[in-house]
């Protein structure tokens, strides 16, 4: 998200209420990221076509199919996203702009090859009982989503936030409209609309890259060279996405909480909707996180390293370090405040929302605890971001690994404990990782000058 701070500061500098609102709205949309938009899109299709698609089970099949596509593509490309962004920013630093376009094409080709290969294998084995059209649509959706995540993270690395949001809005509008128009063809119709929207979204983002980084070379595989590979970043991306989805997968496969929806794909009606709804409640937290970390923190971060490099006094360097600590503390505190508010809203609106979705109010507590967990996850994201700024990849890797493991194990434990405990596993895993991260950050910042100077 580097670079967004500049845009935000520009808005904040206006020093008006409108400027402030704009900044937070901007940060909210960008921060909560494309995948929140995806959730909104899928929920919207569900709500809009609830009355018109017959039989209703096809909507569920559609939603579950898309959810699986999103989860699996995020985990698969998690290994590439961060590492590739780092590769591109290093090349931009070297003024080798032509590698943005050709490098993207290279990584897309590789991704398409891997994702496509995997998809074909799955289509011929696990999905062999399904219709040919369904399988083709799922395969193309999978490959498209993989390419979209990579292009998205590249564009956000290039600070094209506005364009990303606009393209996502456009893409998902097509998905919704297309799905509604194609609903006479049932599940395949809905999926076709989804794939069409995704295709347009991907193509639009790709054109944006072509437009800004025209290059004589069409494709380059330089990022596969061993010295430009960042194994730690690859592992971080993979484990983070795995961690985010671990509890969901477990709920999808545990017999008591799930059911087979279509082919090999399973879902957990009681778990999924509360979880996805809970994610909608972290949008304000993401906004605050971006504004605080990317403006205040980054400002003192820059001053700290400027002072180190260009001969500031030790007292000044320490003051900047203290200001960094203060900015982080304020940021986390504000995230906590705004998420408390979001939680209150969730408490009030929860019962009505579940009723509208036709879910038993027995699962209200699950929704609440998921909202708490998701709020903690915002704090965790903020923390990981700070560690990325301090270039502490080893710590980030440790935290994401801890998150994935804890989420996996604790969710299993809650399944044993019974329905009253559902959701506590995920929540405890984020809390545990957050506390561990805070402890490590505390230690890291305490020793920041020592490590900056003495470990070189």
């Amino acid at each position: 998200m580097a670079g967004i701070g500049f845009e935000l500061r520009k808005l904040l500098r206006k020093d008006t209420l409108l400027g402030l609102l704009q900044a937070y709205a901007y940060a909210g949309v960008i921060g909560s990221g494309p995948w929140i938009l995806s959730i909104v899109g899928i929920l919207a299709i569900g709500l809009l076509s609830h009355a018109v698609v017959v039989p209703g089970v096809q909507i569920t099949q559609f939603q579950v199919s898309v959810t699986w596509l999103i989860a699996s593509s995020l985990i698969l490309t998690g290994a590439v996203q961060l590492a590739f962004t780092r590769f591109i920013s290093d090349r931009l630093f070297e003024h080798r702009d032509e590698l943005v376009f050709s490098g993207l094409n290279g990584v897309l080709m590789l991704t398409a090859l891997v994702a496509g290969g995997l998809g074909v294998v799955l289509a011929l084995t696990l999905f062999s009982g399904m219709g040919v059209v369904y399988r083709l649509l799922m395969l193309s959706g999978f490959v498209l989503l993989c390419c979209i995540w990579i292009t998205t993270i590249l564009l956000s690395g290039l600070k094209r936030y506005g364009a990303i949001v606009a393209l996502y809005a456009g893409g998902y509008a097509v998905v919704v409209v297309g799905a509604l128009l194609a609903r006479p063809w049932g599940l395949e119709g809905l999926l076709a609309g989804f794939v069409l929207g995704q295709f347009l979204l991907f193509f639009g983002m790709w054109l944006l890259v072509v437009w800004h980084f025209r290059s004589p070379q069409f494709v380059s595989f330089e990022f596969t060279r061993i010295e430009t590979l960042y194994p730690s970043l690859m592992a971080i991306g993979f484990f983070y996405n795995l961690g985010v989805w671990a509890d969901k997968f477990i709920f999808w496969f545990f017999p008591d909480t799930s059911s087979a929806i279509i082919g090999p794909l399973r879902a957990s009606v009681i778990y999924d909707l509360p979880v996805f709804m809970a994610y909608l409640f972290i949008i304000p937290g993401m906004a605050v996180f971006l504004v605080r970390i990317e403006t205040d923190f980054v400002e003192y971060y820059d001053r700290f390293y400027d002072a180190v490099r260009s001969g500031g006094s030790l007292a000044y360097i320490e003051t900047m370090r203290d200001e960094m600590v203060y900015a982080i503390r304020q940021g986390l505190l504000e995230i906590a405040k705004i998420q408390t508010l979001a939680l209150l809203v969730a408490l009030v609106a929860g019962p009505a929302a579940l009723r509208a979705l036709g879910i038993s109010e027995l699962y209200l507590s699950l929704f609440y605890i998921q909202t708490v967990g998701a709020s903690l996850q915002v704090g965790l994201l903020a923390l990981l971001n700070v560690f990325f700024y301090l270039d502490q990849r080893r710590i980030v890797l440790m935290l994401t690994l801890c998150f994935a493991l804890a989420n996996f194990l604790l969710t299993l434990v809650t399944l044993r404990l019974g329905a009253g405990w559902y959701g506590y596993g995920y929540c405890a895993a984020t809390l545990l990782t957050l506390v561990l991260g805070l402890y490590l950050l505390d230690h890291k910042l305490d020793h920041l000058e020592y490590e900056t100077f003495m470990l070189q």
């Binding site: 180190v308 490099r309 260009s310 001969g311 500031g312 006094s313 030790l314 007292a315 360097i317 020793h447 000058e449 020592y450 490590e451 100077f453 003495m454 470990l455 070189q456």
Partner: protein
Amino acid sequence: MSEQAFPKAAEADVALLLEGTFPYVSGGVSSWVNQIIRAFPHIRFALVFLGSRRSDYGEPRYALPDNVVHLETHFMHDDLGRHGIEVAPRAGNMEAFARVVALHEAFRQKGTPDLSAFEALASELMPGGSLTSEDFLHSEQAWGFISANYRRFCTDPSFVDYFWTVRIMHLPLWMLARVAKELIPVRALHTISTGYAGFLGALLARSRGIPLILSEHGIYTKERKIDLYQSEWIRDNRNVFQKDSTELSYFRTMWIHFFEWLGRMCYDAADPIIALYENNRLRQVADGARAERTFNIPNGVAIGRLSALRAKRADHIPPVLCLIGRVVPIKDVKTFIRAMRILLNRMPEAEGWIAGPEDEDPGYARECRELAEGLGLGDRFRFLGFQKIDELMPKIGITVLSSISEALPLVILEGYAAGVPALATDVGSCRQLVYGLGEEDRALGAAGRVVGIADPQAFAEAAIELLQPDNWHAAQAAGIARVEKYYADYMMFDRYREVYDRALTAPVASAAEAAPLRCPVHRKEGG
């Protein structure tokens, strides 16, 4: 000569510790080292050359004499550029750093320094000790010490410059400790300067209990000060309000103190401490050398070979002033050039020559050429490059030195022996060489003229006066008499023969005497 071709031996008699001189750099001190090694063919020498960076030196400038049985080279600033190596945090040895603190406190005390803290620390610097270079570079103890000292003492605001000054300054000490540990067995040590080489000598003498001879040509600390005054690379970050032009930048002061302390450690361990001439001996005593260990051995020249050149001289006095030396700022060649302008106005037939290499400081050499051209000296002023003394001497009338710093310049003595008087600035031993030291010496007369530094007018007038035939012949006779009586090479060799004999027959210090260097834990065991 590649490093593989260096002679290597399992042991030797005398280890010569050479910092930035023989065999890689040509100049007065290197010639002297060459002379000494060749004068004692029965002594097997091991040479330890210390340089800054490998890339600063080309091929050796001297052929190694046969009795050099061992040569090793070490470059102190080569490992500074390590990058990208991931370093793990480390705590550092608390006890060792407590002693570092004690040593630095001792440095700050006025009066006679207590170097016992150094003795206790020196062996800990060596591989396997409790104060490793990794601890110095990366430990929290070191960080605490460096940042605390910055807060207490540093008057320059830039922490990063302070930090790197401390690092660059101290890091060679660990390299030297390793060299000291790994050097082949020798019976005596001879260092030709204080500074890093002198520190290495102190480490070796303390850890092995063998005698350390110190011969100082210039005064290392003083020469370093001149370097440091002139060096632009030492940062000064005070702004215009903080800056007091009479006050040196803090980092310069740090460097000067650092070299002063290296010098003290060397003086503390060395016996004898040999100066070239009286002024330098007094300076050594003022800098902390114990007076009873000091004495002078002046340079000497080969009278026999050089006196033969007198016969080759023409009958008339050639109106040629020749500066024999490298074209570098310390020689202040520009003053000579300016003086030539004044001289030529009065004596159009005069000529100025410079015989010496120009490659050491090409920028300065270019400035000198431009100055000579700008002053319109034309063909009356010539840059000859390196010349053979034996061919040069018969053609010149006066050897000149316009330096701002000298020790005991051999070229003046060589000139005397070849029948050429000298005109020199009042630096180093020049006054002693021209006018004589004691009663007896002074009675021989003036062998030339001495003028103040950076004074072209006085320089030119002295040259005119000296070129008057009566004055010149008197000076020539005085020069010949003085060099033959006091500065013949065999006299120098005799003195050094005594020095070496004493050192090589000295009983190896017993373990008890070398004890201060052992680990303090074991010392307690020994009672």
